[in-house]
Symmetry: C2
């Protein structure tokens, strides 16, 4: 079984926070002998001295303080877990997830139209990587999410809604790039693991027999594009993102091979669980795609689908 136990953590944390065994015991409504015993048992199980016995007191070691910091996090998360269970889930709002790039470039027009048609719907738009958004959708944190290929979302319904072209961007300090080796030792700037575009970047590098060397992880496209413009590194972004950013004028755009450049954005949701808010968005997206000249959406609402291209 496990070496650590939430009660143990609470005890160690209290001894440090309150300055001793007796005070900790008092606060926790325990007897001092039990506090002593539990601390010693934990030390033995972990094989680590959490305290130095000095005089009449216990002085925390560095490892004792480290454990106490982690104990705080664990105990807080445990309390949050119980609270969340008690509260259940409240769905007073249309919680929609999106890639940050999609939120900035594709959604404003859509959401403006949506707000006009449904002014009473309160929207909460959260952004994240494809992997994280699918996770939140699975956990019902959000009702629907715009994600990019490649993705795997068994049990979820999908509708392809936007067509993106991915491009490599670099500062002017980088010449023409046709293959990964042209990059030399450039720093890569990307979203966190779980971002489909980052995966494309890593695929492309892998095709050229290269590995990502230095990676900076940013959670904001304006920051990524601006840093690329400043010469910090290179990145892969949808071309549509560049249209809205002034910093894009200062970057060099390199096309990618067609099998990497072509990328679809899909809307995902739980089949059979559509609120009226989501239904409204879906029909608006059908109309929007036709207006933009994209192909008609592939409506896979009735069957789970993987977003991998066959």
């Amino acid at each position: 079984m496990r070496n650590i136990d939430l009660d143990d953590l609470e005890i160690v944390h209290a001894v440090i926070a309150h300055g001793g065994v007796a005070r900790a015991a008092h606060v926790l409504h325990r007897v001092p002998s039990n506090v002593t015993t539990r601390v010693k048992q934990l030390e033995a199980r972990l094989g680590v001295a959490l305290f130095v016995r000095r005089g009449r007191g216990l002085v925390p070691t560095e490892q004792g303080r480290l454990l106490s910091a982690y104990a705080e996090r664990m105990l807080r998360l445990a309390d949050e877990t119980e609270s969340a269970l008690r509260a259940g889930r409240l769905l007073g709002t249309f919680r929609l997830g999106s890639l940050e790039s999609t939120a900035g470039s594709r959604l404003p027009g859509v959401l403006a139209r949506y707000n006009q048609a449904h002014p009473a719907v309160r929207i909460e738009l959260v952004t994240g990587t494809t992997g994280a958004l699918i996770g939140r959708l699975s956990r019902h944190d959000i009702e629907a999410a715009f994600v990019s290929e490649p993705f795997n979302a068994p049990g979820l319904a999908a509708q392809a809604v936007f067509e993106e072209e991915l491009v490599l961007i670099s500062g002017h300090n980088v010449g023409v790039v046709r293959r990964p080796a042209d990059l030399g030792r450039a720093t890569l700037i990307a979203f966190a693991n779980g971002c489909s575009y980052r995966r494309r970047l890593e695929e492309w590098l892998g095709e050229g027999g290269m590995l990502a060397d230095a990676v900076l992880e940013f959670a904001s496209y304006p920051a990524i594009v601006a840093c690329v413009a400043a010469g910090t590194g290179v990145a892969i972004v949808p071309r549509s993102v560049l249209l809205g950013l002034r910093a894009a004028e200062a970057v060099r755009v390199h096309p990618l091979p067609a099998h990497l450049a072509r990328n679809r954005t899909h809307l995902l949701w739980h089949p059979g669980q559509e609120s009226l808010a989501l239904q409204g968005l879906r029909s608006l997206l059908g109309a929007a795609s036709a207006i933009d000249g994209a192909p008609p959406p592939v409506d896979a609402a009735c069957r789970p689908v993987s977003g991998r291209q066959a």
Copy 2:
């Protein structure tokens, strides 16, 4: 004592992940009867049905799935706790938090210089609201964070680094705005609760005796500015953000009263716990502020300070 226990969480998570009691028992090297017993005890203690007994199997309820998600986080953090104790302290990455607006407008130049000076430092830049960032800093999720006034961060050190001017932005469908009543029934677009700029917006409305009526919550400045440009609503943003976004050309900018418009961004960190990476950033920021013509930073490194203006 506590209602939840790490072993319980592991069991519930395994039942859901492996599709049943028998399989979970096998994976966990337990007997099925014990898995059943532990699940039922936990359900009783929490007062919540985690599973529906259907046919020969257990179907997770929504709360069972919610708990399983939390279980993952708890178990991961527990493993990390033990690993950290075994390894001592590992600082492999400089985890830096920032407001999204600051990340896109102020940090690229700073980070480009930083990367040149410290190419070996791996940076992970996360964005969030002031409130959320302070929370993450307190929990040692991040080492430092750029936040905006007003904030309250007892125990943390602060250095004022950027001066921002907040402005109200609207679409062209809104005329001249001098006071809140000029807005009529416009929709407000803002970051989530915990965002200092949103608080300013609500203060300003309050001064005019108005309440926020319809609020859309977005987590992306490009999306906010683009939606304002599309006529969806109004927002308060730092003027520096507009410089980098093309959509800003299509918005109307209204100055705010000086006591609301003037806003400082501060870097926060734990006093006495600066890594070399953070020290490098702080000295770079000192130099950067001088170059930009901003006033010298108020260096409050040696005492906790509240960001409220006196």
